[in-house]
Amino acid sequence: MNAVALTTLGIEIGWGAALAIKTLVILLIIPTGALILGYVFLLKMMSHMQSRLGPMDPGGFHGWFQLIGDGLKFVQKEDLMPDGADRKVFAGAPAVVLISTFLVFLVIPMGPDLVVKDLDIGVFYALAVSSLSVIGILMAGWSSANKYALLGGLRAAGQLIAYELPLLLAVIGVVIQAGTMSLNGIVVAQQQQSIFGIDWIGNPYILTQFVGFLIFLIAAQAELTQTPFDMPVAESELVGGYHVEYTGFRFLFFFMGEYGTAFAFSAIAATLFLGGYALPWVDGDLANWIGPLVLFAKLMFVAFLMFWARFTFPRLREDQLQAFAWKFLIPLGLANLLVTALFKVAF
């Protein structure tokens, strides 16, 4: 979203206005994304998978207003803090989780020129920043002065750190194939490369990196603490885990952080594996216009897969979780890396 993009649309702006627009996009995209994902998948898709309808009355048409109404309700609630809680840490935890989610969108390209800042180390930056939320979760679990929260926070710390590695390994395969860490560069590489000579669909890395895609999905599921990896938030055991003491707008931050992060990870997966905003035969200005829509569609597909698994499977126990990550996913990721490197060098 730099001045070049807007000049191609025929509008001249200075860098101050560009900065303002970029900030606005970052601030708005997470809540909007969280709302959309929450409504479509949590309220409607989950309900239909369970043979029920979900909200139908709020807003009149299939309850579209439900989440917005929930948000407004949370905002006007009393701000409670447990007596023994560490006030500053308690207040800071949801902010840390949310800020790390906002920062991911700095690098995700929605069109050839529609990116807030195209960093050369885009992928590295995105993964690094999204793992800041672990600190927030630990802060929440510790400062709540509640044994359940503490259990949940410690479980979360172990789980999230364990699943960072498979995430990284899955991504490295893509980076090797694309030859660059910049997300925009990866999208362009997918659009312009070809698979063994067939080039009318470009080279979406899901076809060659399907193992990596699966590992990424599983690791993303674990990073979001969604079933089957939702031990930290095991609702039928810990009644909410690390965010059990959070009410009102602080809980809203966590909720938005969870679905916003789901949005962010789906966007990253769509960019890395499905080709991002690019369609193979579209170039130039048209790509700038339909890029966001294409990215949105691919993102929803990835999110559909993640939420589908979430609503179907039971949860793994903490030690089984860890064993799955360390003994299965990481070796698989390393093997995938090896094969990708071999193919890259050989072909």
């Binding site: 369970q50 044994k147 089957p228 499977f313 126990r317």
Partner: protein
């Protein structure tokens, strides 16, 4: 000991040694890494009601567990001292509210035994059908709700959805979904409405489809298997020693079912059914046994519908029911386990004393033994697989 007075010499020595012991004790406490005492309940999603489980944890491992019950004690045995027999029948189906028809049966049976009356054959058959329907309703909910405790959100809704059909059947016959209040001393209140038999056949087919769905969704799921296999193993002899009964005991390999092995009651002697056991005794075995028992109950209901005799549903009983003096004990195979009523009658319109032996009370008594050394998530799995109802524990 006030500070203005100097203690005499022997007291001084005693006091100093006491203080030394105290200091040692305190140091021991401080050096101890401190187990955490966690209260699961009484308000907790995992405990199926108001059960409080005080566990002492070392990290995530349970060292000791102590169930604290009584939060739902409603004083049933006291209530029965001041009610007449028909009035008691309306109250006792609230003991185990999921399989409510099955609670009335042993009581009415015991009263009929004391009076020397036998309900006619059609009444026995309809009573058996309704008992098995309540068993199906309870178990279908279990199949879904254990999935929920293990973490899957969807099976619980399927359990409730499929249970609705059975509850509609019970409502069609008795007028109440959860509290049928259909048994009377001497038979049943009413006969079945028109079309009930064919409707029941359709619902039974639905229940079989639902069982298949649970088998695919839950039992076939590798995550579920890894969460439940080998968890909470109850050896058969320990289970019998603690008084565990019902599907929990059959899942430990003990081949005991009161419908076949106990004193014959209702229409069970006429039926041809299989008693399912599993040798493992873990949580998975308890789930599997209940799944098979649901299918077996469906077969039993279809057999009963085929063999339903015509005739009256009420024997000749006097207008005011006065049960002659005596004592009677009847125990039946309820969905949750073995339930029994011991009625002491002194010839009045109401019993003198009723003792209720409920299944879940004994099923829960094994928890301190069973929960040693398991992880916290496994505690939830074990509680779900034992399948107790708080009303049944506390009465």
């Amino acid at each position: 000991m006030s500070t203005t007075e100097m203690p005499s010499a022997p007291d001084f020595e005693l006091e100093r040694s006491a203080m030394r012991h105290l200091a040692d004790a305190q140091m021991n406490v401080e050096l101890d890494t401190g187990d955490m005492i966690l209260n699961l309940g009484p308000q907790h999603p995992a405990t199926h009601g108001t059960l409080r489980l005080v566990v002492r944890l070392d990290g995530e491992r349970v060292i000791a567990a102590d169930p604290v019950i009584g939060y739902m004690h409603r004083g049933y045995e006291k209530l029965t001292e001041f009610r007449t027999y028909p009035q008691i029948t309306t109250l006792i189906n609230r003991i185990d509210w999921l399989s409510s028809f099955a609670n009335e049966v042993p009581f009415v049976h015991a009263a009929e035994q004391l009076m020397g009356i036998e309900a006619p054959a059609r009444a026995q058959y309809i009573r058996t059908i309704l008992t098995e329907l309540s068993r199906i309703a309870t178990f279908v909910l279990f199949l879904g709700e254990m999935g929920l405790q293990v973490g899957a959100l969807t099976p619980a809704f399927y359990g409730f959805r499929d249970r609705e059909h059975v509850l509609n059947l019970i409502e069609g016959a008795t007028g109440g979904r959860f509290h049928p209040n259909f048994n009377r001393i001497g038979g049943l209140k009413d006969d079945l409405p028109w079309g009930w038999v064919s409707e029941t056949r359709q619902v039974m087919q639905l229940v079989l489809d639902s069982c298949d769905q649970f088998e695919d969704l839950v039992v076939g799921n590798e995550i579920f298997l890894s969460r439940t296999r080998g968890i909470g193993i109850i050896p058969g002899d320990i289970g019998t020693a603690y008084g565990v009964s019902g599907s929990n005991l059959r899942a430990s390999g003990v081949d005991w079912d009161l419908r076949r092995d106990g004193v014959p009651y209702l229409a069970y002697p006429d039926l041809d059914f299989k008693v399912w056991t599993h040798a493992a005794g873990d949580s998975f075995a308890r789930y599997w046994v209940r799944l098979q028992e649901t299918r077996e109950s469906v077969r039993m209901v279809l057999q009963l519908l085929d063999g339903l005799p015509a005739g009256p549903v009420m024997a000749k009983v006097p207008r005011i029911i006065k049960v002659p003096e005596g004592e009677a004990w009847v125990e039946t195979e309820n969905p949750l386990g073995q339930m029994g009523y011991y009625i002491v009658s002194k010839g009045a319109t109401g019993p003198f004393r009723v003792k209720i032996r409920s299944a879940s009370f004994s099923n829960v008594s094994i928890l301190p033994w069973l929960l040693r050394g398991v992880y916290v998530p496994d505690v939830v799995t074990i509680l779900a697989s034992l399948y107790f109802i708080l009303g049944d524990i506390d009465r």
